[in-house]
Amino acid sequence: MSLVRRHWVWLLALVVLLAFPFLFFDWSKGRHSGFVLTLMSEIGVMAIFALSYNMLMGQAGLLSFGHAVLLGLGAYCAAHVVNLVKAGTIWLPTELVPLAGGLGGMFFGFVLGWLVTRQRATAFAMITMGLGELVSAAALMFMGFFGGEGGISIDRVMDTSLFGVAYTSPWQVYCLVLAWAFIAAMLMRLQTQTPLGRIANATRDNFERAQFVGYDPRIVRLLQFTLSGFFAGIAGGLYVLIYEIVTFDTVSAAKSANALLAVYIGGAGGFFGPILGTIVVVLLQSGVSLLSNAWLLYVGVLFIVMVMYAPGGLIGLIFMHVPIWRIGRLRELLLPYARAFPPALMVMLGFVLLVELLSFTTIGAAQGKKFAIGGNVIDTTAPLPWLIALAALVLGALWIRREARGFRERWDALIEDAKRQGVVS
């Protein structure tokens, strides 16, 4: 029973995630919504990837611009393994394909890590970016391993399942992704508590002192990088099983940037931040990109706002409220939040309208799309919508500035009170 009591969050998350797709279950046809399942599988894979990225960025303070290389190489390894299993050369259960990807990722993590971990900070960022460009250029060049532009395709139905599951439906694949995501997340969670995880934190926080204590920071970085490669490789193996193809864009700079954006928006360092960030980024990517061409712009703006105003990410913003909640005065923030909500909404709507107007006059027009809100087609060349958007943006910004002052006063007073009661150091 103590197991349940100690790990109720994980169990709850598992139950919720298993139940969630049934909200979109099509009872008349008796099948799941393929879109929702693929989306959630994608979130699962990208969450593992983001967490493995966080092992570098959050835990060890290493900012990598080429983390997708490990994901992609793991995915290619897994794809080759699947094809070998299919050909009968080796035997491996379908369930363990991600492990093959993980081992591939770990191998490349060690080899590449040996090159890159001599550096840290800005030099590390640059060298990983160079490696990323190198591998993505090589992926198009060498047909044997990477399969060129066409990539490597597989067939995940290979009759070697341990549980006799065929993996013909997205639901079965989703369950596999979920299982692996939980295993990987738990392992990464445990890793943060190992001596290696602690020392990685130490090298991040104070490089010189960690050296004085007697640890070689380079070895610490190398081990951390290798482990991170293992988990990125697991994500790569799952990626292959979901999409049944792996192409050069799994190693591309855009994929690396995705991990960076997700981790930073969610909040680096902590454990749940990257997961939260992944959900936000994947939803924006998959959901908003159906409606608008500008999803990357929204992610970019969100990212910049986070870098400028909330370096702790979304999770940091949430955790800022903890001391006020502890002294039991959280509800006093309700009114200030309610007052700040309309201008914030106004700024957001104004900004989105402006961006969409701009995007539909150029890209949308070139693609022959029309800008419509609720069925009403809007003429993007007329001045009126532009004026409305601009007015909403400017007035909202002025209004929110006014509200912000009151909000800050309230906030400071509450934090002051929390300090007095000793819940904040």
């Binding site: 030099a123 060298i127 250029a137 500008a294 712009l297 970019g300 400028m308 150029t362």
Partner: protein
Amino acid sequence: MEVFVVSLLNGLVYGMLLFMLASGLTLILSMMGVLNFAHASAYMLGAYFAYTISQYIGFWPALVIAPLLCGLVGAAIEMWGLRRVHRNGHIAELLFTFGLALIIEKAVQMTWGLLPVPYRVPALLDFPLFSIYGTHFPAYRAFMLLISALMFGAIWLGLTRTRIGLVIQAALTHPDMASALGHNVPRVFTLVFAAGTALAGLAGVIGGNYQVTEPAMAFTMGPIVFVVVVFGGLGSLLGCFIASILMGLIQTFAVVFDVSLADLLARFGFIVTKDTPFAEVLTVTLPRVGALLPFLMMVLILVFRPRGLMGTRDT
């Protein structure tokens, strides 16, 4: 021989273009410690501004106005963005410029469209200047060389002969000391950032019609400029110059020599067949790996000589 001379000239033109971009970046990086991901975005903005301006009032005013606009954008970024983020450390600054680069690319796509814009060489310079061994050398490339040489001279004179140049040099190597001596280092930072962005804009104005003006141009040029800066070494304009020219020459010469490692091995009597291990790596020809060479060089130099060619300190 003819291939050699033509490639040499082309490599020089490309190298000088790279230098225009890299010089600003290396100044910003060595002074402020900010790896400015948005630098190549300024290059792109310069090209697009020049395209729009040249549609209305011609290429020559654009040559002046577009870099100035880019400089203003740079100053705004530094004053209202970077300075704020500065408190959170270099990594935060780097991430800020990274986000900015994403946003600028999207904004350019939304303003000018996804397709390349027809930004052309001005009619006045659209003629072959001379021909060597039957190959015409366009006058515009000579003009590019001239502009970049003028700019190189101006930077060099500005840095060594003017007061502000001396302060910049001091802030480059000893930022804390320069500020302790009472110089307004933040203002110098803004100035250098704006000047660097303006230079990138100028490179965009003259490079946009030499290459293709499209929304992806920043993300193809950016990594190469980083390579140049790292290769040349921090805090050294001369190193940056040498690295730019070297990179320009390597990239142009890689295209013309159709050889592979297998050909080299064949000289020593080792014939590569399909069954040799790594046959694919050995038989790939130089023009195909051309795009890969700069990054290979960057990785190698960061591994074996982190301070670059002429750098004064580690990256």
